[in-house]
């Protein structure tokens, strides 16, 4: 990574639209004019939100075309109850607001050598695919997109997708008792197909389990899960190298507490998948609560490392090598 986290990009909000009862769509333009950094479909940015009490850094998929860099577009689902980030975006951010974003990072890239792409979206999970569809239209590799929402009025981009991809999109609504037939789809895909899933945790788990049961190798299965860091009891932590003591609040992540103490700790996904924030544990007088999908079971059991973006501890004092 060539950019440090201090190296954020100032942007101005140029449009806000309420697209469903719970989803708002935002368009950002660079404050200083010019173009934003290039990205590929599936990339996310971190939006830095300076709330009254705390700073939130939430990841959002870029949904605009990678070919248009005058602006970036994201969609934000209002989570209820919100820890603060999505409520901030929905309540505080309006046209003209100035925000900082981090450079795009792609942890959900299309496989370049795939012979077919099968995209499975649930709800707000449609957003990374909207950017990928721009990339896919430029190739001659076959693809399909299956997009499930609670109901037509909760389906933020149903019409857009149906119009843009009349041959290749299928829409499903829970309200009409139409669900994606995951097993049916995954059992008849030609060799060289890659499946991508982004949506609620239950949908991702079902796709991963079904794919595995049908003999799909891991290298052909891609998923992206954006979930708020799990909450828990408050605890104290001590950063051994910097000599800083800090307190982690019940609804604050360990990473957020470290950042609030002024330490520029490494991170990329803030969702427990990329492994970038892995930190060595020096000592803990209790138990680590691992919520990530990165460390192996053995590493988790060893208690020697933690992913501060999503994991916490049930203890009175956690000492980190930071």
């Amino acid at each position: 990574m060539s950019h440090s986290h201090a190296d954020t990009i100032p942007v101005r909000v140029v449009a806000v639209e309420q697209v469903t009862p719970q989803i708002k769509h935002f368009i950002f333009a660079p404050t200083g004019g010019g173009e934003l950094p290039a990205f590929s479909g599936g990339s996310h940015i971190i939006v830095v939100m300076r709330g009254a009490q705390r700073v939130f850094r939430n990841p959002y998929s870029l949904m605009s075309s990678p070919n248009e860099l005058d602006t970036y577009q994201i969609s934000v689902l209002r989570v209820d109850p919100s820890r603060g980030g999505s409520a901030f975006m929905h309540e505080q951010v309006r046209v003209g607001s100035e925000l900082e974003i981090a450079h795009p990072v792609n942890l959900f890239a299309l496989a370049k050598l795939a012979r077919k792409h099968l995209l499975l979206a649930g709800g707000i999970g449609i957003t990374p695919f909207m950017a990928q569809l721009h990339d896919l239209r430029l190739t001659d590799v076959p693809y399909e997109i299956h997009y499930a929402t609670r109901s037509p009025e909760h389906g933020a981009y149903c019409e857009l997708i149906a119009q843009a991809e009349p041959q290749r999109a299928r829409l499903y609504h829970d309200s009409a008792a139409k669900f994606i037939d995951i097993e049916g789809l995954l059992s008849h895909q030609p060799l060289g197909t890659h499946v991508y899933v982004c949506g609620p945790a239950g949908m991702i788990t079902r796709v991963l389990e079904t794919a595995r049961a049908l003999g799909w190798p891991d290298s052909h299965v891609h998923y992206e899960k954006f979930s708020a860091p799990p909450t828990g009891a408050a605890f104290d932590a001590y950063l051994d190298k910097s000599g800083i003591a800090l307190h982690v609040l019940p609804d604050q992540s360990l990473l957020e507490a470290i950042e609030a103490a002024g330490v520029d700790a490494p991170y990329l996904c803030r969702g427990g998948v990329c492994g970038f924030c892995r930190t060595d544990v020096v000592a803990v007088d209790g138990e680590l609560i691992h919520n990530d999908h990165y460390l192996s079971d053995e590493e988790k059991a060893s208690g020697k490392a933690i992913m501060p973006c999503v994991s916490r501890a049930r203890c009175s004092k956690l000492v980190l090598s930071l």
Binding site: A111, L113, A114, R115, L186, S187, H188, Q189, P190, L191, G192, T193, H194, R212, L214, G215, W216, P217, D218, S219, H220
Partner: protein, 202 residues
Amino acid sequence: MLITGIRSKPVYAPLQPDLLGRYHVMVGHGVGATPLSRLLSDMRQAEPKALACTRVWYVAAAAANGATNAFRAAGIAELRTFGEVDALLADLTAAMRAALMGTRLYVAGPESFMGLVMRIAHDFNLNRDEVRAEECGTLARRVHCIHCHSTIENVRTNIVECGCKRWLVVRDHYSRRLAAYMGVMVDAEAPGERPQIKEVFL
């Protein structure tokens, strides 16, 4: 010489059944029969039902006559034998086109045969977690002449004459795309000055 110290030579490992797969395609050539027989027997031990979803395609060599009987006795879904590698490769390409996700490919035989099969696997975007290959038999190389772009089969020597009349040194530089080692003119700078020819790939 340009031969050693290049790490592009593929590394293969002994075949093991991958029971996470749903369909199993095993291809072999000549002495590749031995690892395939062992693989089938391991599969019978671990999960006999998988044999009903297993196909074995084999290019017979004179030395391996008993092999096909052993395959037939294993209770697999299909056994096909071929007289020529090219015939197997052509049918394998067609089979891969019709195959579904969940397929595992196993390859056993001399390196040059494996290279050709691996190239097809790559064309179908089969990754390392879908293909297993075990090298056995001759180390004779397929050599790609970087000057005239023709391929020389079964090269056993360090220096070989190409159809284009150039003498080539056989490098360890292996191309998965071409399924061949690179052959580079050995006496380009001093015409006629060639090292002694030795049999090295046996």
